[in-house]
Symmetry: C2
């Protein structure tokens, strides 16, 4: 297969292929040793569809609804009721970000990490996108899969650096992207060591481990987890800005990619605002200022989803 087959010829495609060739070709003035060829990608909206809501939000809402069905008194709290109805703005208005997060974490609190991984994997097998009518896991971006392939063929190591829950993304990262669980960095809750029925278990707590993996925590967690500065970084919201800046300001040449969701016909059209910092500069504005490569879904991608998705 031709490299980047679903990418239309244009600036973005040329920027990618040119960069990969320059850093991978021995003797090139911009050659980078294979051990330093680290690539990081945001997940939601960068590798797969994040609209009309985050995939993990649908999972969480389903869990919350099941919990309220068993304990109706929980549904009397306004933040719970709004969240279970999928009305995030109302949940935010009722409980603020803290109340929303507390409610969101509740259904999976107290269960083991193993049980969570199984529940997430099971749910992801079938849970279906409301508009496209196919499982969420089919809604990965075909051009990005081709980009991952191109990078792998050129000895890059690829990591997902997601604002989403690390264990949720891990449940499908191998199947969707060929990326093993240990190469996924994300937000996470605290886990508590316990011996239960003679087995060591790690029990999920109702609080985050550090901050959610958006904004400045992204480079910090890249260093904590990967230990090397990336030379390729891709994202689609203001929450990815610091990660892209980190890649750009290392000692090596870099490629910073911003996916611009400008195609409401084949996917969605929306600005790349930050979830945790709604007032932040849209990422496409930052990209223009700092010289990053903007990928127009409408213009640069001949195809959005893989062939098995009927859209």
């Amino acid at each position: 297969m031709t490299a980047l087959a679903s990418w239309r010829d244009g600036e973005a495609k040329r920027a990618i292929t040119g960069f990969v060739a320059r850093v991978s070709r021995e003797g090139s003035p911009e050659f980078v040793a294979a051990s330093a060829r680290i690539a990081v990608f945001d997940n939601d909206g960068t590798l797969w569809c994040e609209r009309p809501g985050f995939v993990q939000a649908y999972y969480m809402i389903g869990r919350l609804q099941a919990m309220i069905a068993e304990q109706p008194e929980l549904g009397e709290k306004p933040v719970m009721r709004a969240l279970a109805a999928g009305d995030i703005p109302a949940a935010l208005a009722a409980g603020g970000m803290e109340g929303l997060m507390e409610a969101a974490l509740l259904p999976d609190t107290g269960i083991t990490a193993d049980a969570f991984a199984e529940a997430a994997a099971t749910w992801l097998q079938d849970a279906t996108h409301p508009r496209f009518g196919v499982p969420f896991r089919r809604l990965v971006y075909q051009p990005m899969l081709e980009l991952l392939d191109l990078l792998r063929e050129n000895s890059f190591r690829i990591f997902v650096v997601s604002g989403g829950g690390v264990e949720f993304v891990r449940a499908v990262s191998e199947e969707l992207y060929g990326i093993p669980p240990d190469d996924v960095v994300g937000s996470s809750v605290e886990l508590e060591f316990a011996r239960i029925d003679g087995r060591v278990q790690l029990v999920r707590q109702a609080r985050f481990r550090g901050s959610p993996n958006e904004g400045t925590p992204k480079p910090v967690n890249i260093q904590a987890h990967i230990g090397r500065r990336p030379i390729v970084a891709g994202g689609n919201t203001a929450g990815d800005r610091e990660m892209l800046e980190y890649a750009q300001t290392g000692q090596h040449p870099s490629l910073c990619l911003v996916i611009d969701h400008d195609d409401d016909e084949r996917e969605y059209a929306y600005a790349g605002a930050s979830f945790t910092d709604p007032g932040a500069e849209p990422i496409t504005t930052t990209a223009a200022r700092l010289g990053w490569t903007v990928v127009s879904m409408k213009g640069d991608w001949a195809q959005i989803f893989p062939d098995n998705v009927p859209v």
Copy 2:
């Protein structure tokens, strides 16, 4: 080369080769899919020599001495003076564990993660062991290198899970063990995101990120970083106990190895006490109770260090 060439025939060697064969051979009743073949090893005292002191302690003492040479008033604090003299018990008596850790972190606080990695790598090139007279980095255990090779040949993924500083171990993990930086889990300090002279930098803080990676934090950090439960685990102190229990009590067969330092002629003889919890049960006692495989350095290892080490 024959597998495990530096291992003498005996129970430990048979336990290892038997286990690896059983879980790797398709059709075996104990077969484990390659994706679940995760192996974790403690570093200090398990993969390389940790006596008479931790390698990182020598690094830190050198840094502290240099700092005191420039700011003599620092040396007037009893905990600092004791630590700079390498007298850990006196430093503990003067400042407690907290004061000791604070003093130990001080010399590398405020520098960037990149600068720390460079300083550690440079120091590790030449810094020499007081008894053996060769660089510390030569004092890896030859039998353990052979074990890592055997596991790799059988499609295991191998991680270092160290109580030591993650960025210190990473500075040599690839060279010493063929283990890339992102496959090292360890203790770490908080890093602060900063833009310095137009570059994103991560600045080391004077406090740990979470707890030091000893005891119950080991399984928690394995889950946070690797996302799969190991089926092989090796350690040498009570601080590794929970990690070995975690491997033992998963859904797959497991191999738990304890390195018993019982050879004061060729290396050192000491009980596997915990650094952070001195009252904990010695790991060899736990091993006997839980049926783990104890590796006697004296009996099971025909050779301790690689051939290029003149001991």
